[in-house]
Amino acid sequence: MTAVLAPALTRRRPPFSLSRWVERESVFSWLMVALPVAFLVALVGYPFFYGIWISLQDRPVAKPGEFVGLANFIRAWHDPVFRQVAVNTIFYTAAATLLKMVGGLGLALVMNQDFRFKNLTRALLLLPFIVPTVLSTIAWQWILDPAFSVVNWVLKAADIADPGPSWLGNPHLAMFSLVIVNTWRGLPFYAITLLAGLQTIPPDLYEAATIDGAGRWGRFRYVTLPLLMPIIFIVTMFSVIFTFADFQLIYVLTRGGPANATHVFATYAFDIAMGAGQFGQGAAIALSMVPPLALIILAMAIYMRPSKS
């Protein structure tokens, strides 16, 4: 086929040749980018703007929509559950991100040392991140079930508590448990990325700092941390976005219970859109995530700007 078509296209040399035009670097590069861009527009851009359009309508499932302006957003604002959901989401994100940041940095520092089985340990570290969330969460479901929990079993065996705490039944403990599971899952992402960052710091800087009389803390505070800042910023941004929009983990463990104590934006929006068949309201709730997320990221960008010096 190529043999037949190619000469046909190139034999005559008209003033404008499509094939030549296509092969110009400036055109070809755009053509190559066009596919991923089209992909993004189709799978991210279009749904996003369609979501905005739906959020402005009263749009029940299987029925045509009716434009209602901002009514869905106003309604959400007056919904006590929505407010609780907002507080839950912010708490969940803040607590989990903080734990992941501190834990991840610590883990990365440890992993950066030389020790036996270093590579094996680094590979194993990634496990929580690699296992599909739904599967690992089902394992957590057993760990957090008081009747089968290893934790409760230990507490019972050590005569500390019997039958032990109800991890998902108590509203406060339920949120605490979810934060722990989220941290467990997200820690490797932090640790591995920060480890990569640590390895790019030139050793001579540490030597220079040591000569200047800096101790362990000084080297960390004045060499490691500033040079790691850009990476911490990127990882934290990613982590905030993922945690803020978390769905699977909560949906599998509590579905937002007990009594909405662990409902977050994503789970609530899903219940309203898919469970109740109210697409407009569901979209409005999901979109409510955008302004706070944008604000958080903006604040972080200003506060953690790497070029401060």
Partner: protein
């Protein structure tokens, strides 16, 4: 032959163009010819039930009518999402299993099957009245009810006997009394109060109704949750939780009570027939000391939750006649009978023809599930089917009213919350 990089670039573009064109042209050509129907179902708790359709019913129909019937199984809990997708895009399976008030939600997207519903009713001794509650929309049948997955009391006869009970307590108050004794003896109760799909509604709505309370009047407008009856039901629930149950119930979803019962953590719960079914399979000794009973009576009677499995035909189906013919064939006793049998009453028929069917004798402990059909209603009852009803369920308004009371809030407060939410939900629709 030197292949220039230019040529390979061109090849890439051409290959992309050809394969895209090929994909676009090829697809419809294949579809047009096959004579087949697809039925979508949620994966059954009773695996032989799904296998029976695939291996026996579908094969028989293909042999008889030459139409291949595919059986598409989706995972538990994802059926509504799949039905929504199919209805919104007007593509996908031809028929689907549905539940709750979906016949109303997807009214325009389902075919009117009143004609075959009448024929099936006539053929099989008439429909139970409760069958119509979930499928008749504006006077038209939008689905053919298949069976109810009833939610009843599951209890341990040996432990109840030790506490002095030969029979299951007849009223909620007596059950509370029994529960207090059993918890003291180390055998607490466990009823789901979390955000599950079924086992929470299965007892909390009947509890509410049996105290004479309800969310909305039959007019579908007047919110009446703020009543003395509700307050009494809430007060009862708080005591019932604190004095008879394990603390964890508040966070339970539908799997937890099965796990807790089968691991001997609890002595009583509200569930479908699945606990006894699983016990007979895996814990035969325990199965001997399990019994099932209708929900207890309250001051205003005895109630159960309606949890129907029905079959609908999507309006986008090309050959609606073929789909109707199939459903009609499926519901004839020659086909439906053995299908009910294979699941041993896990799906309780809505047709009186099966009232004395042999399957009820296979496991007499399942009989209360048949009798419960007479007093079963959908959440939201006595109001007619509505969007608000779905929203109330999706927001767990009634469940959380009880759950919040159990976790320490005052009765007044939790009812006021529920009242405010219901007002907002019902006003908007």
């Amino acid at each position: 032959m030197a292949l220039s990089s230019r040529k390979s670039r061109r090849d890439v573009l051409k290959l992309t163009a050809y394969s895209t064109a090929g994909a676009l042209l090829g697809a419809p050509a294949v579809r047009a010819q096959t004579k087949s129907l697809t039925m979508m179902h949620e994966s059954s708790f009773v695996p032989p039930y799904d296998a029976f359709f695939k291996n026996k019913l579908a094969a028989a129909y293909e042999k008889e009518k030459g139409i291949k019937v595919n059986y598409e199984v989706v995972s538990v809990g994802s059926l509504l999402t799949r039905v929504t997708t199919a209805a919104e895009n007007a593509s996908g399976p031809d028929m689907t299993a549905i539940g709750f008030n979906w016949a109303f939600l997807f009214d325009d997207k389902f075919v009117d099957v009143s004609d075959i519903a009448a024929e099936i009713g006539k053929e099989s001794g008439g429909w139970y009245e409760s069958a119509q509650e979930s499928v008749v929309v504006n006077g038209k049948w939008k689905a053919i009810p298949f069976g109810n997955i009833g939610q009843l009391m599951n209890w341990r006869t040996d432990w109840f006997k030790q506490a002095g009970y030969e029979k299951f307590p007849d009223t909620w108050d007596e059950l509370l009394e029994a529960g207090i004794k059993l918890k003291k003896a180390g055998h607490p109760f466990g009823f789901e109060l979390g955000h599950g799909f079924g086992d929470n509604h299965g007892w909390l709505y009947p509890l509410l109704w049996s105290y004479g309370a309800r969310e909305v009047e039959a007019d579908g407008k007047t919110i009446v949750i703020d009543s003395d009856e509700t307050a009494r039901a809430v007060d009862f629930c708080r005591r019932f939780y604190k004095e008879t149950m394990v603390e964890d119930c508040l966070g339970w979803t539908d799997v937890n009570n099965n796990k807790a019962f089968l691991s001997e953590q609890i002595s009583c719960t509200n569930n479908a027939e699945s606990i006894l079914w699983a016990a007979k399979k895996d814990f035969p000794d325990m199965a001997k000391v399990i019994d099932q009973s209708e929900n207890p009576k309250g001051p205003k009677g005895r109630f159960h939750m309606l949890n129907p499995l029905c079959h609908s035909i999507f309006a986008h189906t090309k050959d609606q006649k073929a789909a109707k013919d199939f459903l009609r064939w499926l519901m004839a006793p020659a086909q439906a009978g053995p299908w009910y049998d294979i699941a041993v009453t896990y799906y309780q028929p809505f047709l009186h023809h099966y009232d004395e069917a042999p399957m009820w004798k296979v496991e007499p402990r399942n009989l209360p599930y048949r009798d419960a059909l007479k007093t079963a209603h959908l959440p939201g009852w006595p109001a007619p089917l509505s969007r608000a009803q779905s929203e109330t369920i999706a927001k767990f308004v009634v469940i959380d009213m009880f759950a919040k009371a159990c976790s320490g809030k005052s009765t007044k407060e939790v009812i006021a919350d529920a009242q405010a939410q219901l007002k907002q939900i019902y006003r908007a629709s």
